[in-house]
């Protein structure tokens, strides 16, 4: 077993896809760096925190990207975002079989705030353009920096999300909420609460991720294979019917759980007898418990 969480972006690419198959577009040797960081005396990286390219997954050629949490938390700047957008557009141009996004990001890189915000919206549109071309896009979330801000939105624009319990998927980080609304609103140092709220188990039970995996590269690999197959079955492109279904699921979620103050309450409301035991369950026993209680995942 090999922890997905602890690997770098490039190690994930090397181990998740078929051996030796990853071929990078604009590799570090191309030396394409952020044009904005130098004036802030911030360090630069020769890949701007993301590797994009193509690889083979279980014998099938796919396009892929991996964000590096070790460089500015995987945050999206002008070049980082353009690499993702470029890869997605090339996937469409070359009629890729599927796209696999290994996401780990705090969202927009504040050092290049305005450019980063526009870049994330370009990535969102490029993901949806890819789906519109009939190419499934799946997102894997299991890095130590989580998947936040605009990238948390991008993940949910994909056909399916694969998460580990340790992965976190959300919009605003707990520190941001605590700073803006007070510690009584969200205590960012309460790690158990942070994981209950943003972690893979809660997201899986609510239907925000469709596959839960143990923190193991082989499990994520299988999750990606399964997610691509499931996306084809469910229909890759957006449709009015699918979005109307998602609309009612999201509406029901507010109606059912809008009064809850802790994710534990939502798990109890889902009918899980011993909600307090959920955080301690290993991935397989959790998946078994969740199978009969989780909400249908909106696509």
């Amino acid at each position: 077993m090999s922890s997905y969480l602890e690997l770098t972006a490039r190690e994930r690419l090397a181990r998740l896809f078929d051996t030796g198959s990853f071929e990078e577009f604009l590799p570090p040797a191309a030396r394409v760096i952020s044009p904005h960081l130098a004036q802030l005396d911030a360090p630069v990286s020769f890949d701007d925190g993301v590797a994009v390219g193509r690889a083979v997954l279980d014998g099938v050629p796919v396009f892929c990207a991996a964000q590096e949490g070790g460089f500015m938390g995987g945050a999206v700047g002008e070049v980082h975002g353009a690499k993702l957008t470029g890869m997605l557009r090339r996937a469409v141009a070359e009629r890729a079989s599927a796209v696999v996004l290994l996401l780990e990001s705090g969202g927009v890189r504040l050092h290049e705030a305005n450019a980063g915000l526009i870049a994330v919206s370009e990535v969102m549109r490029a993901v949806l353009d890819t789906r519109a071309a009939g190419i499934p896009v799946v997102a894997l979330v299991g890095g130590s920096n989580g998947c936040f801000g605009g990238m948390g939105i991008v993940a949910r624009c994909a056909n399916a999300v694969v998460m580990s319990e340790e992965g976190r998927l959300a919009m605003s980080g707990p520190e941001v909420i605590e700073t803006a609304s007070g510690v009584e609103e969200f205590d960012s140092r309460d790690r158990a609460l942070v994981w209950r709220t943003t972690g893979g188990k809660h997201r899986y039970l609510m239907g925000d991720c469709q596959f839960i995996a143990a923190d193991d590269v082989a499990r994520f690999r299988q999750g990606a294979v399964d997610a691509i197959a499931a996306s084809r079955t469910a229909g890759v492109e957006l449709s009015l019917a699918a979005l109307e279904t998602e609309q009612s699921l999201l509406g029901e979620r507010i109606a059912r759980f809008g009064e809850c103050t802790d994710p534990l309450d939502t798990w109890t409301a889902l009918g899980i007898a011993d909600a307090k035991a959920v955080p301690m369950m290993d991935a397989d026993s959790f998946a078994a418990t969740a199978a009969t209680h989780r909400l249908g995942g909106p696509q």
Binding site: L26, A30, A42, E78, I254
Partner: protein, 238 residues
């Protein structure tokens, strides 16, 4: 300007828009077209309810009024910063709204965004920035985050950020900077009704913001990086 003043200038031929809990929806007459109007006001924080309300209106427009153009009126302080919203999965609600806008575009609706007051990060990225083209009024504020908060997080002194913001569109709030980077198509002055009619006529189907940012000098690398990847070569020297 509040939304009623803006609506009067945008829709001299008349409109019927209602405001409920900072959520705006309705329709208006622009030239010979009926236009669906949706958006927010009072610098609304975008929580799960108001994101879903906007999505519902857009889906209804697609179902009941095929092809009717859509105008998104943007005034938001960004996503609502609450534990409850995160517990309910606010990123999924935001993504849903973005997907609904995208579906409308692909179903033949022209979609224009207009920042008439304030646009911030999460509230903007799934509304105005998802439109075919987004415009702004001259006094609009557009930003990711205020400079004091940005200084705290980036650990760059605020004075340095203020100094940089004067010359570099990447930090400074304001519609001109977003226009230079291609995120805002143009800033509307003068006859707003005529500007909207023209915007509906010109609405691009494909996302051309990185090319616009390059042409206007605000984002020098984005388009070159995209082109290089598409062509399977390195970035060419400018």
């Amino acid at each position: 300007m509040n939304w009623i003043e803006v609506a009067a200038l945008l829709f001299p031929a008349g409109y019927s828009i209602t405001e409920r809990d900072n959520f705006l929806s309705g329709s208006a007459r622009v030239g010979e077209f009926d236009v669906a109007v949706v958006g927010t006001t009072e610098h609304a924080p975008i929580g799960v309810e108001i994101a879903l309300a906007q999505a519902k209106f857009i889906l209804q427009t697609v179902r009941e009024h095929p092809g009717r153009p859509i105008l998104i009126l943007v005034d938001t302080q960004g996503q609502r910063l609450r534990h409850r919203d995160e517990m309910l999965g606010i990123n999924s609600y935001m993504a849903h709204l973005g997907k609904c806008v995208d579906l409308a575009r692909r179903s033949g609706h022209k979609i224009i965004g207009l920042v008439y007051d304030q646009a911030l990060s999460g509230g903007f990225i799934t509304s105005g920035l998802m439109a075919d083209a987004c415009y702004a009024l001259p006094d609009a504020t557009i930003r990711v985050m205020g400079l004091p908060a940005m200084a705290r997080i980036t650990k760059v002194p605020e004075e340095r950020l203020i100094e940089l913001a004067a010359s570099n569109p990447v930090f400074a709030p304001g519609p001109e900077n977003y226009a230079r980077m291609g995120g805002i198509e143009a800033i509307w002055q003068g006859d707003l009704g005529a500007s909207l009619a023209k915007a509906l006529q010109d609405a691009p189907q494909a996302d051309s913001r990185s090319a616009l940012g390059q042409a206007r000098g605000g984002r020098k690398l984005a388009q070159s990086v995209i082109d290089a990847i598409l062509a399977g070569r390195n970035v060419l020297a400018p």
